[in-house]
């Protein structure tokens, strides 16, 4: 290279040729009104350098704190410490936050859903998005001294997609047919079908890169906590405490904190807040709306909040009486007052949902005409369906995320009563609800944040999908999904998504009232910590004042 490229030209992280879709996308963003953040996100998947992309699109990075970070200190983090042996098979996000300190991922997705290089320094997809070349960083060493090479990555990926794999990665990466090492630090992935967002998937909680001898050494990570990350595990006691200490020989910039102690204080969040107020801990894992007032009473506490696409869906099973009649479903949906639910159950800290499970914050969201409440119409539909004197229904729920679920359901109860629907609530303990969540005819289920709306629709509403709790099966819908999956441009994709959303609304699959924000709280002295819509926390940039 003779001359550095002009400052506002797009370029790849590895200096290779840009993917053919990059320029049209950038054009869309600059001239056709496509959302710049969404385009930035797609560009990051395609291996474009974020610095150049931000410069060209005019999207500034989030401002960093002006104070110089201070080295040292012990951070006490309230988090449940669960039993964990194999990070790739973990089902709890909390456990992933623990091992995230020690083992790392090929890519990193920040809370704004932008994908950054991590263990992989750069990547380059082929034009048809079926062949991906990755370049790993040089000079990384495991905590036991071994060098980090392609062999480690190959071991992990083969493990994920093996037929006997117990990890959800097997489904996520089912399209990977082969991993081909190119040299010590480069490898190539061959896919059976194009996946444009592959780099983003590589940051899922179950995708850390473990040492190549993980299986040989007993496949129990806490017993033998080898990792490339900025911390090393020193103590691990289930349901009590886990301790991580800083590694001085970390390949990147060493962490600011000396030590992180994860304390398991049970599931009552109010007690976590009280412990924070008393100075016994520094950081909480999660807050719900009930504890918000409590936190506000302590001005010394920081309240951290992020918009999220997590939500509650009150879904009706299409193949169960009386929900098999679309008029009954429509009556329920029409009588719901989503604004009231958001206002009372979550104090307006969120965004209204439109009963199709795609959030306005997701890039593939398509704006449909607003949903209106219509109690009179609900009554008419019920009478038509053969219930002139109203109908008795039961909603099951488990308060798996907090009491606001029950509060939302009680508002629905009041709303339905106006239309002649006598709704009774069946409140189960959280663990019990999870045993019946996909069996109960009318239930309220919590769905965690996913970066793309299409991911949720695939998981929850495609015919025959494992997590299709509403037994929704609609060919037009499936076709709309297929169409959307094939489109790279987020703007064009959202138009295809619009069809899918409309079908979900017409079929009155669910009452999905709002997307609540994510909250957590920290002591005043905690700096550099950001809440994350998926609860994926990196601690290496966190410091204590």
């Amino acid at each position: 290279m003779s001359e550095p490229p002009p400052a506002n030209t797009l370029r790849n992280n590895d200096g290779s040729e840009l993917h053919p879709a990059v320029r049209p996308l950038a054009q869309n963003a600059l001239h056709c009104g496509a959302d710049r953040r969404s385009v930035l996100r797609v560009l990051s998947w395609l291996g474009v350098s974020l610095v150049s992309a931000r410069a060209v699109l005019g999207v500034a990075a989030r401002a960093v704190a002006s104070n110089a970070p201070r080295q040292g200190g012990t951070l006490r983090f309230v988090c449940s410490v669960q039993q964990m042996t194999d990070p790739a098979a973990t089902t709890w996000v909390e456990a992933s936050n623990l091992f995230r300190n020690s083992v790392e991922f090929l890519t990193y997705v920040d809370p704004d859903n932008i994908t950054h290089p991590y263990l992989a320094q750069s990547w380059h997809p082929s034009a048809d998005l079926k062949t991906w070349d990755f370049q790993l960083r040089a000079g990384i060493r495991w905590s036991n001294g071994d060098p980090f090479t392609v062999a480690d990555v190959a071991f992990n990926i083969k493990r994920w997609i093996a037929p006997e794999s117990k990890s959800p990665n097997r489904t996520t990466f089912a399209a990977i047919t082969a991993i081909e090492p190119l040299d010590e630090l480069r490898f190539r992935l061959h896919l059976s079908r194009p996946i444009c967002s592959l780099p983003e998937h590589l940051y899922a909680a179950t995708c850390p890169i473990l040492h190549r001898h993980f299986e040989a050494q007993g496949a129990n990570w806490p017993r033998n906590p080898v990792g490339t990350g900025p911390f090393r595990l020193t103590d691990y006691h289930v349901s009590r405490i886990a301790v991580f200490k800083r590694r001085r020989d970390y390949w990147g910039q060493p962490a600011w904190l000396d030590e992180i102690r994860y304390l398991d204080l049970g599931s009552e969040i109010a007690t976590h807040v009280a412990a924070l107020a008393a100075g016994q801990v520094d950081l909480l894992y999660r807050l719900t709306i009930s504890e918000l007032d409590l936190v506000k009473r302590f001005p010394s506490m920081q309240l951290l909040s992020e918009p999220s696409a997590q939500t509650l869906v009150m879904r009706m099973q299409q193949d169960q009486k009386p929900y098999d009649d679309v008029r009954v479903r429509k009556a329920v949906v029409l009588s719901a007052d989503r604004e009231q639910m958001l206002r009372l159950a979550y104090r307006d800290h969120g965004v209204l949902g439109e009963n199709h499970h795609v959030a306005p914050s997701q890039p593939d969201y398509f704006r449909l005409p607003p949903v209106r409440r219509d109690v009179a119409q609900a009554r008419r539909l019920l009478a038509e369906a053969g219930y002139p004197n109203g109908i008795d229904l039961t909603l099951a729920l488990g308060n798996t995320q907090g009491r606001y679920e029950q509060d939302t359901a009680q508002i629905l109860q009041q709303n339905c009563a106006e239309a002649g629907i006598r709704l009774s609530l069946q409140v189960l303990p959280p663990a019990q609800y999870w045993t019946i969540w996909d069996k109960v005819p009318f239930g309220m289920t919590y769905w965690a944040h996913r970066p793309l709306g299409i991911m949720v629709l695939e998981l929850a509403y495609r015919s025959g999908s494992v997590w299709n709790e509403s037994h929704f099966s609609n060919q037009r819908f499936d076709a709309a999904l297929d169409k959307a999956l094939g489109i790279l441009d987020p703007h064009e994709r959202s138009a295809a998504m619009g069809d899918a959303e409309r079908i979900l609304q017409e079929e009155a699959v669910m009452v999905q009232p709002y997307f609540p924000r994510k909250f957590t709280a920290a002591a005043a002295r905690v700096r550099g910590f950001r809440a994350d819509p998926q609860d994926y926390y990196r601690m290496d940039k966190v410091w204590l004042a």
């Binding site: 007032d293 009473r297 009372l344 609530l425």
Partner: protein, 283 residues
């Protein structure tokens, strides 16, 4: 006045009078709930108003509102109805079970007594709350299951009392006379023995009603009580607990209500108790 109804006279004693007043008061509130409650206890209005504040239309909320905007005073009034009805039904059911089994065990002795006493001992070896938790978790939370749990928990103790009384009475002359006269067993049990134990049982009934009310409160507090949105004092404490620091009215009023009801029942029970044979003071 026969000794059988002497307990009525003891209502005049001060403790019993206060107790009767409290219990009567709550009973009246429960019966007149529709008239007394200013708002619909299930209707959401303005959330988290402090006691004495007014809503946007100028209407006053004497005890404030809860997190879903429902009037605390109305929920307290309807909650009285819930507690009194469910606790009474539960206690009566426990009594039915306890009395029948106690009479049978005490009258027939032998194998019947051995089996029934053994069952009672088995149930009594569970710490009460552990028993309730296991039952509710196994069967689910509903009014019927709360009644079942309380029955299970209380019947053995009632069984023991009735059994002891029956054993004692059975040996008396008038029972022997009834048997020789050819009276049927059931008639003996229900007409001769049971009324003679009424004094002790009335006292126990008041106490046990109080315990049942407390049990409902505790189950509601643990989130294992009646399903929402039923106004239930224990459930109100459970819901308001996380915000109690900022909004203490959410928990203080239900606790005071429950405590005053149980206090009334305890005072009443205490007042109705026959004074023990007192040894006169000398010097």
């Amino acid at each position: 006045m026969t000794r059988r109804y002497a307990w009525l006279a003891s209502l005049a004693r001060p403790t019993a009078a206060i107790g009767a007043l409290l219990v009567g008061g709550w009973l009246a509130i429960a019966l007149l709930s529709r008239v007394l409650a200013p708002y619909d206890p299930l209707h959401s209005m303005v959330p988290l108003l402090t006691p004495g504040s007014r809503g946007p239309a100028g209407n006053i909320f004497w005890l404030g509102t809860d997190s879903l905007g429902r009037d605390v005073l109305s929920r307290l009034i309807y909650g009285a109805r819930t507690v009194i009805v469910v606790a009474t039904v539960a206690t009566l059911t426990a009594y039915a079970v306890g009395i029948v089994t106690g009479l049978l065990a005490g009258y027939f002795r032998g194998r019947v007594d051995a089996v029934l006493s053994f069952c009672a001992n088995v149930i009594l070896s569970f710490p009460v709350l552990v028993l309730y938790i296991v039952i509710i978790v196994a069967l689910g939370a509903s009014a019927a299951n709360v009644v079942l749990a309380v029955t299970f928990g209380s019947a053995p103790a009632i069984f023991r009392i009735v059994r002891a009384i029956t054993i004692d009475l059975r040996s008396r002359d008038f029972i022997a006379a009834a048997i020789t006269q050819g009276e049927s067993t059931w008639r003996i049990l229900l007409v001769e023995i049971l009324p003679n134990s009424s004094g002790a049982l009335i006292v126990d009934f008041c106490l046990r009603l109080g315990y049942s009310a407390i049990t409902m409160g505790v189950l509601g507090f643990l989130g294992l009580g009646l399903p929402p949105p039923t106004p239930d004092w224990g459930g109100m404490v459970n819901e308001g607990r996380t915000m109690a620091f900022a909004f203490p009215h959410l928990v203080l009023f239900p606790c005071m209500a429950l405590s005053s009801l149980v206090l009334g029942l305890s005072l009443l029970a205490d007042g109705l108790r026959q004074p023990p044979a007192r040894v006169r003071r000398v010097g």
